[in-house]
Structures are given as structure tokens and as C-alpha cells.
């Protein structure tokens, strides 16, 4: 019976929180009821490590002679022994020829504890009673492949590290370039600002010169004007006085009042006209009525103011009219008198009450009024009187309007006079200013400025254009200044290695070249034969060439050769000094060449196994551990198994564990 359990954390591989390596894996029974065991499984499932642990547990590290030829195994066992996370439990039992119960246990960070038949023992006891035969992986092809694979993986990792540094350097170079670019941009903007400043300065200077010239021209014009005024002094003064006087005469006329009055009178005229028409209508009506009483009057004549017919009629009816008029007036007076008394009062003389008297008077009045012709004539006279009045009023208003119209015409003259007067006054005032200055001085200045020549309007235009250009330049300058401010605000800080740009570039180039070499090394290690075809003497000039290839192959050959375990060939162990990865040939220290295909793994293992049994103490029980027996052909495998079975049967073998690779996960089985 064999029981086995082990776990550990691999330094450099496991990270905090990772689960440790376990053997057997979860779900696989850790106990098997036989002592002849075969374990199959994929690479990396821990088969070899189980054998290593078992070898360590059973004291194989003390087998110095064996380990002399297996430095790699020795290192592995020492590393395991030092690993504080290693823990294992092994139990091996058998009952022939006598009962044996060997138990070995190691807890984390502690020394192993051993029990033999339930009695605690030390490792020396185990060494005295048991022999360990550990046939490790010595298939030369596999060893070579594993070494090359490991080297290739390592070189790939180096390449990744180089890429990482290269990328960082590249970023730094970009940062520096960006920083430098910022400086360039900054310098360009500063130049633009300076250019704008100079332009503005130059244009302002031109502007100042033109302004001075314009000032001289205006001064010249001013002096000329003053001199002309002085020459015309008498005429200007005279004109000013004349117009002033005239203006004083008419200035009180208020144009607004005149227009308003004119409007009002015209309105009145219209009213009078309407009244005249109304009167004319009445005249026509009265004349028409009189015609009914055979009193023909020509209306047209009356309307035209011809009173002849009306006067004749009045003369004819005058006496009667006068009498009745007196009567009527008297009746009216009496009615008015009696109305002041009570109706019951008695009127003297006639001795009648007031009521009765009034009634009689009203009756008489009605009789008088009933004289239609008389009434119409009276009315006609009245209307004609009204017409006369209307005509008079009409004429009167017309006169007023005529006067107002004249005034309105005068108003225009006022405006003209006023305008002329203002001009004369301005000229007069300018003259007064000119008179206030010394004429000699003016003449002197005139001589000074006589040479000043130019078109002041053109100069003013140039000045305006210059002002526009100055404003444009100032706007541009302002924009550039703003851009500069923003650029500076957004600029990055000076890169850390800005002053070491050249060194960074050199380092980048060195890494770049190194990286190319490393990539080529990986390709050579993956397939030396294929890689070698790329390199020809002609292609040596650029990059990784034939000489680099040869240099690498040679270096790797020496490196592998120095690490390789002695190889069994021709019944001898040969120390290897070089391995030719192109030809798969070992070069031994005594300069022999052994092709890898000439080495037989199976032969080696079975020879070692039988040899070991022969050489070892027959009094000791054997524990046989065989790693990687994949290359054994079926016959050799059968021979190994048969040998081990016979050893178990004759009592010289306690346990045999064979490990071989397969595509299965893990399979643990026994054979008999």
C-alpha cells in the first residue's frame, strides 16, 4: 500500500492568495493498495515533483555520489528542502517477508518526522534499512528540448522587458519633442507679436508726421482766412451792421402767430359766407311769399344789393306801416306793463281787470300780426339789414386776411435776413478774433507756412487709413498675445529627461538593436535549422547576420554543454562540453561526437536499474523511483516492470513508482 500527499508554493511563481501545487490533484485518491505504481499524466501536473519529494523524504540528498552526476536534480531537491511551504505525507506498507509500515510526514516549515512500524525513527535509520534508486529524466532529447525551451522562454521575457523600456523611452522622446515644439511655437508667436509691435510703431510714426503736416495746412488755411478777413474789415463790419438793423426790425414778427391768425380769419370768412347764403335763402323765400300777395320783387336784384324795388314798396306802405307799428309797439308795452300786476287788479279808466285787459291786448296784437304782407315786408327789411351787416363783416374779414397774407410773405424774408445776418455775424466775430491778433505776426507765420503744401483732405484720408491699419495690427497683436497666454497655460512641464535627449536616443537605439538580436535568438532556439536558412554571407552586412547566428549557436552550445548531465553511451558516462543545436550532437570533453539519436533512453534506464540492484546492498530494501520512462519501447518497459515485480516478490523491493507522460490529466494505477 502506498499513500501520498504533498503541497507547496513555488517561489517566484505563486502569488499571494494562489493555491499551492497539490499532488495528487483534487478528486484523485491519495492511496493505492499496491506497491508497484505507475503514474501517467500531462507535463506540469506534478508527477516529477512527487518523485522528488519522495526522494527527499527518504534521504536521497545524502546520496552524494549519485547526485554528483545529477547537479540539476540536486539543486531541485535542495530547493524543495529549503521551501518553508512544503508539506507532505507518505506511507508505505508491505507484509512480505515481514510487515513494514513506513510513515514520513513534514508540516510547513518543520523538519520531517519518520515512523517505522509506528516507532519514531531518524533519517539515518531509514538510510540503513532502505536504498533509494532514483532514475531521473535522462532522455537527452527531452533534456535538450526542455533546456532550449526554458532558454527561449527566458529570452522572450527579456524581450518583453526591453519592449517595455523601449516604449517608455519612446514616450519620453515624444514628450521632449512636444516640449521643444512648444518652445518653437512660443518663439514664433513672440516673433509675430514683435512684428506687430514694430508695425504699429512705424505706422504711429507715419501718423504723427501726417498729423503734423495736416496741422500746418490747417494753420496755413486759418491764417489765410484771417488775413482775408482783415483785408475785408470794412465791408464785413458794414454788412454785419446793415443786416443787424434789418433783422432787428422784423425779428418780432412771429411767424407762428401770423399763420394761426390767418387760419382763424379764414374760418371766420367761411362762417360769414355761410350766414350770407342763409340770409339769401330767407330773402328768396320771403320774396316768393310776397309774390303770392301780388307784390312782385325781383329776388336777383335784392340778392345783388339792389334795394330800389324794396325802397319803393316801403315808401308805399310806409304810413300804414308807421301807424300799425306804433300800435303794435304800444300793445307790447302795455302787455309788459300789465304783466307786472295781478290778474284781478282793476285797470283804471277802463275799469276792467288786468286779466281781461291783457286778453284784449293780445287779441289786438294778433289782429295786427295777422297782416301778412306787412309782416313779410318787415321780415324782408330785417333780413336785408342782416345781409348788409354780413356783407360788411365779410369785407372786413377779407381785409384782415389780406393783411395777414402780406405778413406771411414778410416771414420768408425774415428767415432770409436772419440767415444772412448769422453768416455776417460769424464773419464779423471771426474778424474780431483776427483783429485780436498781431497782423505782423500773422504775416510772419504765413511766410513760414508758405512752403507747406498738400491736400488736407487726402492727408486726412491717409490718416484714416493709417488708423485702420494700426487698429488691425493692434487686434492681431492682441490675438497673438492671447494665443501665447493660452499656449503657455496649456504647455506641459519640462520633461524630466529633456536635457538627456541624446543619451535617451542612444539608449533607445541600443535597446532597439539588442531587441532585434533577442528576437532572432528566440527564433533560433525555436528552430535552429529553419533559422539558419535565413542567414547567408551576403546578408551579413545589415542587422543580425550569419556571424551573429554562428556566435549565438556557439554560445548556446557551450552553455548547454556545461549544464548537461553526463550521458550514458557505449556503456560509459560521457561528460559533455558542448551541444550542437543545429545538428543535435553532443561534443564530449574528450572531443567525441555523439548524436542525440544514438542515445537510447530505455536502454539507459534498464541498464541503470539492473546495475543499481547489482551494486546495492542486498540486505536493504529498495525504493525505486523512475521519472520519464516515455521513451521506453514496450519490450524495455515490460523488462523494467518484470524486474521490479520479481524484486518485490523476493522481498528486496518496498516500493516502485514509475512516472510517464501522457495526454491524460492524471492516472494512478498499479501493475502486477
Amino acid at each position: 500500500m502506498f499513500q501520498f500527499r504533498m503541497s507547496y508554493l513555488e517561489p517566484g511563481y505563486h502569488k499571494a492568495g494562489d493555491r499551492p501545487f497539490l499532488f495528487p490533484p483534487e478528486g484523485i485518491d491519495d492511496k493505492i493498495s499496491t506497491n508497484l505504481i505507475e503514474i501517467e499524466g500531462r507535463n506540469g501536473t506534478g508527477k516529477t515533483t512527487l518523485l522528488n519529494c519522495l526522494a527527499l523524504a527518504t534521504g536521497y540528498l545524502d546520496h552524494e555520489k549519485d547526485l554528483e552526476t545529477k547537479p540539476a536534480l540536486k539543486r531541485k531537491l535542495q530547493d524543495l528542502d529549503k521551501n518553508p511551504t512544503l508539506e507532505y505525507f507518505f506511507r508505505i506498507c508491505c507484509d512480505k517477508p515481514e510487515p513494514i509500515d513506513l510513515k514520513i510526514e513534514r508540516a510547513k516549515g518543520q523538519k520531517p518526522k519518520l515512523w517505522l512500524n509506528s516507532k519514531a525513527v531518524d533519517l539515518d535509520t531509514i538510510n540503513r534499512k532502505f536504498d533509494i534508486i532514483f532514475l531521473t529524466e535522462d532522455d537527452p532529447k527531452k533534456v535538450v528540448n526542455a533546456s532550449l525551451g526554458k532558454l527561449s522562454k527566458y529570452i522572450s521575457e527579456l524581450e518583453k522587458g526591453l519592449v517595455s523600456i523601449q516604449n517608455t523611452i519612446n514616450r519620453k522622446l515624444l514628450d521632449i519633442a512636444e516640449f521643444r515644439n512648444f518652445k518653437k511655437k512660443e518663439n514664433n508667436i513672440i516673433k509675430e507679436i514683435e512684428s506687430c509691435r514694430k508695425n504699429i510703431e512705424s505706422k504711429r510714426s507715419d501718423h504723427a508726421k501726417l498729423t503734423q503736416k495736416l496741422k500746418q495746412l490747417e494753420q496755413k488755411k486759418d491764417i489765410k482766412g484771417k488775413l482775408e478777413l482783415l483785408n475785408d474789415e470794412k465791408q464785413i463790419t458794414s454788412e454785419y451792421n446793415r443786416l443787424g438793423k434789418k433783422y432787428d426790425q422784423i425779428k418780432d414778427k412771429k411767424g407762428t402767430d401770423i399763420i394761426r391768425s390767418l387760419y382763424r380769419e379764414r374760418s371766420n370768412l367761411s362762417k360769414v359766407n355761410d350766414e350770407t347764403k342763409r340770409i339769401d335763402t330767407q330773402i328768396i323765400q320771403i320774396c316768393d311769399s310776397l309774390r303770392h300777395y301780388n307784390i312782385p320783387l325781383e329776388t336777383e336784384k335784392l340778392l345783388k344789393g339792389d334795394y330800389a324795388e324794396l325802397n319803393q314798396l316801403n315808401q308805399k306802405l310806409q304810413p300804414k306801416k308807421k301807424e300799425e307799428t306804433v300800435k303794435l309797439r304800444m300793445i307790447d308795452d302795455l302787455i309788459a306793463l300789465f304783466n307786472r300786476y295781478l290778474e284781478s287788479d282793476i285797470v283804471p279808466i277802463i275799469n276792467k281787470p288786468v286779466r281781461e285787459t291783457l286778453s284784449e291786448l293780445l287779441r289786438l296784437k294778433a289782429q295786427l300780426a295777422a297782416d301778412r304782407v306787412f309782416a313779410l315786408l318787415t321780415a324782408l327789411n330785417n333780413v336785408m339789414e342782416q345781409k348788409k351787416g354780413a356783407i360788411v363783416e365779410f369785407d372786413k374779414i377779407q381785409n384782415k386776411i389780406s393783411a395777414l397774407s402780406q405778413k406771411s410773405r414778410d416771414l420768408k424774408e425774415i428767415e432770409e435776413v436772419q440767415g444772412a445776418y448769422i453768416k455776417a455775424e460769424e464773419k464779423y466775430l471771426a474778424l474780431q478774433v483776427a483783429l485780436g491778433q498781431d497782423k505782423t505776426d500773422l504775416l510772419s507765420k504765413w511766410r513760414e507756412l508758405s512752403l507747406a503744401d498738400g491736400d488736407s483732405i487726402a492727408i486726412q484720408k491717409q490718416l484714416n487709413e493709417l488708423e485702420v491699419l494700426i487698429r488691425t495690427d493692434e487686434t492681431m497683436k492682441s490675438k497673438y498675445e492671447e494665443n501665447l497666454r493660452m499656449l503657455r497655460e496649456n504647455s506641459t512641464a519640462k520633461p524630466k529627461h529633456e536635457e538627456e535627449e541624446e543619451n535617451l536616443r542612444v539608449l533607445y537605439e541600443t535597446i532597439s538593436k539588442l531587441r532585434e538580436n533577442v528576437i532572432q535568438w528566440t527564433q533560433i532556439l525555436d528552430n535552429p535549422e529553419l533559422a539558419s536558412r535565413q542567414f547567408t554571407p551576403e546578408g551579413e552586412k545589415v542587422g543580425f547576420g550569419l556571424s551573429d547566428y554562428q556566435k549565438f549557436v556557439k554560445a548556446v552550445g557551450w552553455y548547454l554543454g556545461s549544464q548537461f548531465e553526463p550521458i550514458p553511451f557505449d556503456y560509459k558516462l560521457h561528460n559533455v562540453s558542448f551541444f550542437d543545436i543545429e545538428r543535435n550532437v553532443f561534443i564530449t570533453v574528450d572531443d567525441r561526437q555523439i548524436h542525440i539519436d544514438n542515445l537510447s533512453q530505455g536502454q539507459s534506464k534498464i541498464t541503470s536499474l539492473t546495475g543499481s540492484f547489482k551494486k546495492m546492498d542486498p540486505g536493504k530494501k529498495k525504493i525505486v523511483l523512475i521519472d520519464e520512462i516515455s521513451e521506453l519501447d514496450p519490450q524495455n518497459l515490460e523488462d523494467v516492470k518484470r524486474t521490479l515485480k520479481s524484486k518485490l516478490d523476493d522481498g528486496s523491493l518496498l516500493l516502485a513508482v514509475l512516472v510517464r507522460p501522457s495526454s491524460e490529466m492524471i492516472e494512478i494505477k498499479g501493475w502486477s
Binding site: P11, G12, L151, Y154, L158, G161, L162, S164, I165, T168, I169, K172, H497, E500, N503, L504, V506, L507, T510, I511, L514, N517, W521, K551, F552, K554, A555, V556, W558, Y559, S562
Partner: protein, 44 residues
């Protein structure tokens, strides 16, 4: 964890001294990339 440059004997035969320093810096897990670059620049 700082670890010795693996296969240094092999690499010595393949690269220059400067290149070997770069590889050593690459392999040094105790240094950040920035520190690796600083150390390489310092040696130049």
C-alpha cells in the same frame, strides 16, 4: 523579488557590456521602469 540574471554566462558571450547592463536592469524586478531608465542613463 530581485533575481540574478539567468544564463548570465551565456549572455556575456552574446552582448556588449553596455547591453548586459540593460538586460540586468530589465531583469531587476525591484526597479520600476523609470528607475531602470534612470540607472541606465546614469551609467552612460
Amino acid at each position: 523579488m530581485k533575481s540574478k540574471l539567468y544564463a548570465e554566462d551565456l549572455l556575456k558571450k552574446l552582448v556588449t557590456e553596455k547591453e548586459l547592463k540593460i538586460l540586468k536592469a530589465v531583469w531587476d524586478e525591484e526597479l520600476s521602469i523609470e528607475q531602470k531608465i534612470d540607472s541606465l542613463l546614469k551609467e552612460r
